[in-house]
């Protein structure tokens, strides 16, 4: 029973990791941008939520209703005004620019919010749990995070496969010139992709901030998890990303069950094993690449 519990808790955390990875996967799929500032955008969203909560006295989920559109707009402007200019040439350019963004965001957050650890408070969600049997209880918070992850990934799947915009994402990812000949403004499509990616990031960031403490410097570690999830699940596959998140979550939970300091290590080991034996991931390629 102990192990079943461990696995379930790990899988639920995996939902959060999948959310971390979804935006990264979307930006890479559409534009081949590896966004090294991805983790810092997650942290930035959490701090934005703090600003909204302090300013309006609302709870974190209400704050998300403001943070999400702000991040959408920020993503659009960021892509249109900056990242678009890094595309089309050397692959190093977007890497360097997003790496620079990462440094800037971390330092700006340190300057504005200090290095103290913060947390978003939502006692109702954190404290409530549903008891299943004698020794098994599922917290409302992890369950909510997992359900949100499934809903978000499902929504992006629908967007990609059932809408004009999603079709344009896939077509542009395949062949920029031919997509433009069909009337696609690729600069706008890229901006929409980043806007949507950062909207997902804002959801991930707020849920992350409710779940655990954060400070301005922890972005890169979230980026690492996001990377691992994408690689484990298979590049370009969103359901693979969910599977990758669950696997990483379970690996960390099992590692932590042996020794609390092993959780991250166990995740890395599983990631390396997948890279070794299934380098294309578990569910490779449904769009892009």
């Amino acid at each position: 029973m102990y192990w079943i519990n461990t696995i379930i808790q790990g899988a639920l955390v995996g939902g959060l990791y999948a959310l971390f990875a979804t935006g990264l996967s979307l930006m890479f799929g559409v534009m081949r941008i590896i966004n090294l500032a991805h983790g810092d955008f997650i942290v930035l969203s959490a701090y934005l939520a703090i600003v909204v909560i302090d300013g309006l006295g609302v709870n974190p989920l209400v704050a998300l209703a403001i943070v999400a559109p702000v991040m959408f707009a920020f993503g659009y402007v960021l892509q249109r005004g900056l990242l678009n200019f890094t595309l089309g040439g050397d692959i190093l350019r977007p890497l360097l620019v997003t790496f620079g963004l990462s440094v800037v965001i971390q330092n700006a957050l340190l300057e504005l919010f200090s290095a103290d650890s913060r947390r978003l408070q939502l006692p109702f969600l954190e404290m409530t749990s549903v008891r299943i049997g004698d020794q098994l209880a599922i917290g409302l918070m992890p369950a909510t995070v997992f359900v949100v992850a499934v809903v978000v990934i499902g929504a992006i799947e629908i967007l990609l496969y059932w809408t004009d915009l999603g079709r344009a994402f896939r077509a542009t990812s395949d062949d920029i010139d031919t997509a433009r000949l069909c009337g696609v403004n690729n600069r706008n499509i890229y901006a929409m992709a980043t806007a949507i990616a950062l909207t997902v990031v804002s959801i991930a960031g707020v849920l992350f901030g409710i779940r655990t403490i954060f400070d301005p410097t922890i972005g890169p570690a979230r980026l690492l998890y996001a990377f691992e999830v994408v690689i484990i699940g298979g590049l370009g596959s969103l359901w693979g990303t969910l599977a990758g998140g669950i696997i990483l979550g379970i690996a960390q939970a099992i590692g932590a069950a042996f020794d609390p300091s092993w959780d991250t290590l166990a995740g890395h080991i599983v990631f390396l094993l997948v890279l070794l034996f299934r380098p294309r991931g578990l569910i490779p390629k449904t769009f892009g690449l």
Binding site: A171, D177, T178, R180, L181, C182, G183, V184, F287
Partner: protein, 233 residues
């Protein structure tokens, strides 16, 4: 006013100049073929008209009287010029139907719909949910034409329709041309197969080394005249 007019069009790739003052005029409803050897600049000409390459001066290319030389491809297709690119270029991660829908991305009104495209190419209707890389070369060419038609263009540019296809397949594809012309669509066709070009076109331009060396109606052009314009010997 001609539908499409290029005037002393100069274009190229970076420092490499490929077109040296190409002037041509295409009237509404015409089918015009451009013939010429490899490297004559035929594809460069089409790529410049549809906006993938920039001409040196914006007024080099006029469509319906509007200078389009400085417009982006997505703006040009919205004005009514669609392109069937060389090598067909279907979107590999889209199925047949999504490829066709991409063609209608600019939402131009007109006669061409999914149903009409399938009626023109029944082969595609049978495979509407197949991923485009699984199609045969001929089916991919039909898909590329169908996709371009979905933009309801006034002017359809076709680059090397017969490239790499079996003669019987080429015949099937050219059999669709009268149906396209019947909608009033103007056609500009680049073709290596001279006989094919002379048969389908109202007028022919022959290009060599980035210049127009001969033009006229197929009936009025002599064999030797074409040979001279084509090879320059």
């Amino acid at each position: 006013m001609s539908l499409l007019q290029t005037e002393e069009l100069v274009a190229g790739y970076g420092d490499f100049q490929a077109l040296f003052g190409v002037s041509l005029a295409i009237e509404r409803g015409e089918t015009v073929a451009i013939i010429g050897a490899n490297g004559a600049g035929k594809s460069t000409l089409l790529r410049t008209i549809c906006g993938l390459l920039r001409s040196r001066r914006p007024t080099d290319v006029r469509f319906d009287g509007i200078p389009i030389g400085s417009l982006e491809p997505e703006q040009i297709v919205a004005l009514g010029i669609a392109m069937v690119p060389e090598g067909r270029r279907p979107f590999p991660s889209l199925n047949v139907e999504d490829n066709l829908r991409m063609g209608a991305y600019c939402h131009r009104a007109g006669p061409w719909t999914l149903e009409r495209a399938y009626a023109l190419f029944p082969n595609l209707a049978e495979r509407r949910f197949a991923m485009s890389p699984t199609l045969s070369g001929g089916q991919q060419q039909m898909l590329a034409i169908g996709r371009a038609l979905m933009a309801n263009p006034k002017l359809l540019l076709c680059d090397e329709l017969s490239l790499g296809l079996a003669p019987i397949v080429i015949r099937d594809i050219y059999a669709a041309m009268p149906g396209i012309r019947a909608e009033g669509t103007t056609l500009l066709i680049v073709e290596q197969d001279i006989q094919r070009a002379l048969r389908v076109a109202d007028r022919v331009y022959c290009m060599q080394k980035g210049r127009v060396t001969l033009q006229g109606r197929p009936r009025e052009l002599g064999r030797d005249e074409i040979k001279l314009a084509y090879f320059g010997v």
